[in-house]
Symmetry: D2
Subunit: 345 residues, 4 copies
């Protein structure tokens, strides 16, 4: 049994973590924290949980966490968790961090994009970018070289990296030609109140935001550089969909040579062979966000546009599951040597 | 007073035409036709019109149309209108065709994309592509050289052409680098029943379709070639949004030199100077489909991604208005020498 | 030309007022006020208005309003307008108040439901409840007896009163048996940020609120008492719909005798004979909110449930138009002796 | 291990059954049938199932079903299953029928409401109305008196009966005063194509349908008569919500005496004491459909409107789960002596 805590349990990601972990056969939730609502019942904040959860929220107390748990999920805004995570992992515990704080290896890049001083820069090298389909071995670790922190990727980042990785790894495309048009449901913005996410503003509406300036770009480029061994610069434009959950990314890249669609598909199938959570779809079936919602799957398909010698890759996932909480549990499973799919099927 | 007919008046575009023309100070609707529902009251088919419209649908009778009207809007599926349009315009009448039948100058291209033999190939050269902001002079005509048919552009095509035209016309971008990611609300699919547009399939869902194979591509490329004088090939991927009305296109292009965003914006402002229906938005305000719905506006803005030397252009419009019925009325105004904005503000 | 002001112009109702009045042939908008955003352009707050409106918001200045305008629409929260309205109308101007402040004749009832001291109790008797289809003569006034203030009804209240009035006026139902189940789109809640109206909470969700305790109850009962001459108590439960605009009320009442559906329909048709904005639908056509959205219509139909001797009346309208801004303009037209439908068709 | 079949597996209910049963620890799905799509893979029809299900659809063959299975879920339209169900259960198997064919005890009532001759009238008395919270003992059966068929209730019916049963059973209300206003998401209509369920017709729209004439009425009244021992006639009006999943019923009843809300709540708590799937909510928390979606819960709360001496009961559930597939599995668990909640938490 793995005893865990969820730090910052009142948001949508926190709720999704509780939902998944309540069904996990090897996990017991010992602490759920909230600085804004200590003392409240979890099933009053997440009212859909009524009858399934008796936990009460508490203020974060690292000593108690260290005493009672083996791992903790930190679902706090960026910059809010750093010191606490440091204290926690120094006591030999594992942390799965859903913020961006430990995703970027270069501290300057982090501070430039997140406009905040990094709270624990020395801990960054003990973190691993928690995308199992790309970095499984690093997450599992090896003898002495075990990560203390799994830095859970951004929701968009997961979809983009999974969509583009085989193309770059197999040198199929020009790394300077990458365009990614991403779309997400509103739950990706969290529970914070903002006119942009007010129902009357977001419903029956569609728009781009953070155009070419989204914070997921550095972690996407860092990872794609790592898998390809090249400098990768993407043009990335996210958009807000008038729906709750789901992300679809449409990625475009110029092919290096006239690789056939068969060859390209073969690379995807080979690179993702055996990956439970990547569904490479049959010919003609395009990923639909609805097919991934409430699952930990990422659905992918591609097409070669022969007229322009481009490949178009489409990838769909649930921003709260494979884009956040589901992937976090997948990382926890790996950190603890469990079946990676435990609690996620 | 211009007497008009609407042929194929029961669909969403037909309904939108009726709505706009009922308010047009110089138009009288004399005939509304439907082969599937002759005899029915228009306000039974379009129940929102109750109290505002006493017309009854009839089977199409070109003789009556020619006798009673000066112009007719043909809102029929592609291939369904050709002969009738020919008979009608041969009697000196004007036709605004909302199908694709007269948009493409090359008959072979038409037949290849629409999988049907063209009903009136000789009439194609008497048609003009009805995008006023690009082809106003051709639509208005000149002495002998007056078009008989305004071929109303496809909804996506209007948005894409307006987004990209200044870039190509002013040689700002590489015509080989164009990627267009388009998204439309479901009304663009019309009233036909298909599982894909069933509420339970389309709501809370997002997906691509007709990937790299959408019928609007040839007319987009034809027009962009015309404005730029170059061969233009685009990668075009449409997507279905879980909402009723609205299109947003996100267009990506590689800049030829290091043109500043100021220079690029200047080209847009100059090319569209005085255009009532193009709103080039202030810095930082991204087009939202909601702001264009129920109007004939196309909202545009752009950004230069300096890291990748690309320009990103976003364009939003209402697929049923500027993408169809509104633009059709705009064309009618031009064909008859009226104020172009009549009935549309 | 009637010069008008809109006080509190940044909310959804304010935006709808601007939209309607920009098209009104006899109105000129001279002032638009906002205490929270003075100096801002109206088309920055209501970005859909870009290109159609050059007005700037200002802080409210009653002196300027009195100097420059003939009438003012007050779209402020309850309790916020009272003194200003008093100052304004004392200078011989007309006010159309969209708050609840002047709807209730009994001050104690007002203070009990709105939990605030009434700012101008003496002015209440100079106000008229602005539901034209019921109180036209009072709104128009008569010689000396002209109202200074049209108290625009609540959105739900309009629908409920129009649905039930003929039943009560003609003594067709037991006034003790009235049950009203009402449903509204989210725009009825306004722009204020609240978790309940956050897209992720309201989308794909449906719930009741203010159960049996909604503030529209006293004005509904006051009006129904007036039209029937009896004490009327209703059970009223509003619900929040996962959509932007539209209200449907489903009203249930026990029939007094075995009145036939024909007789009941005759009463509705007679009572609402000639009413432009009430559409009593044909047999079998049930009101749909969508058919009323962006119009000033209220669609009504009814059915007799013979098994239970009840009548079911359904009424749909657009909460922002017939439920607010449209009705306000209708009232303005009456106050100024214009054609009641001006600007509304 | 219970071997089961799903007859009519391509609809939304069929898909939901597969989803639940794939996770049921004691069930193996041996056959899934479809007359319209035999040979197709289940995960091509229900594409969200990809990677989780290798089954292929087949034409219904009762012999094979009887040979290979212990129980079968019949998810066919009313009138379509009767003979097959008869053949199946005559071989000692259990059937859970999701159609209406075995819900009504009076054949004449069935034929009057469903406009079809009953295929197996003699089998009706061997069926039990499958609402466990009301008829658990009958479903479990007793020695010789074991039902062959669990007639799964209609989705609306489940919510209405659970909402009203304690009121009637405890003689708290006048059985002549019942008004039920029901609202459902579009998935309740199934996959069949109809303009009413076309996204462009159903989105951003709300309307009533089958006013006072919905087929669930006879089974609601049959059941409420049974629990109360009185004749019960309800006025029932369903409405279509612009969302996928979820039902909320708002039920209104006149109280017999001045029972306090405490007393009424006590009856609900007592009658539903220990019921896993009924969540009687705390004071002030109104049922939201979203909290029940993808669960087998029915959330209930109530309020007494003292001014009118009425009680208002609100009940929410997921039309595809507690309203159909979840309840069907609950019934299967009971028929086979398993823990009732197996596979449903």
């Amino acid at each position: 049994m793995i005893n865990i805590a969820i730090v910052g349990a009142t948001g949508y990601t926190g709720g999704e973590l509780i939902k998944i972990l309540l069904r996990h056969p090897h996990v017991r939730i010992k602490h759920v924290t909230s600085e804004s609502s200590p003392g409240k019942r979890v099933d009053d904040v997440h009212s859909w949980l009524k009858g399934r959860c008796d936990l009460r929220l508490e203020k974060l107390n690292i000593k108690n966490l260290a005493r009672d748990t083996d791992a903790a999920f930190f679902a706090l805004p960026h910059g809010a968790g750093g010191q606490n995570i440091a204290s926690y992992v120094k006591q030999g515990k594992k942390a799965i961090d859903l913020s961006a704080d430990f995703r970027l290896r270069d501290i300057k890049t982090y501070q430039q994009w997140y406009k905040t001083k990094h709270a624990s820069p020395s801990l960054v090298k003990k973190a691993v970018y928690g995308l199992p389909e790309i970095f499984r071995e690093k997450i599992v670790g090896n003898g002495r070289d075990r990560p203390l922190i799994a830095a859970n990727p951004g929701c968009y980042a997961t979809a983009v990296i999974l969509a583009l990785s085989p193309l770059l790894k197999n040198n199929l495309v020009d790394p300077d030609s990458l365009v990614v048009d991403a779309k997400s449901g509103v739950s990706g913005a969290g529970k914070k109140l903002d006119l942009m996410y007010h129902f009357s503003e977001a419903a029956e509406n569609f728009q781009a935001y953070a155009v070419g300036a989204h914070r997921h770009m550095p972690e996407i480029e860092q990872t794609l550089c790592e898998v390809s061994g090249k400098t990768v610069r993407i043009t990335f434009v996210p958009h807000l969909l008038p729906m709750n959950r789901g992300i679809l990314v449409s990625a475009y890249a110029r092919l290096n040579q006239k690789a056939t669609v068969g060859q390209i598909k073969h690379c995807f199938e080979r690179d993702y062979s055996g990956e439970t959570f990547i569904r490479f779809l049959p010919e003609g079936q395009w990923p639909q966000t609805k097919n991934t919602v409430h699952t930990n799957y990422c659905d992918i398909n591609l097409k070669v546009d022969e007229r322009t010698n481009r490949v178009i890759v489409l990838a769909a996932l649930d921003n709260l599951v494979k884009g956040a909480a589901g992937q976090a549990v997948q990382n926890m499973n790996l950190l603890f040597g469990l079946d990676e799919t435990e609690g996620l099927l």
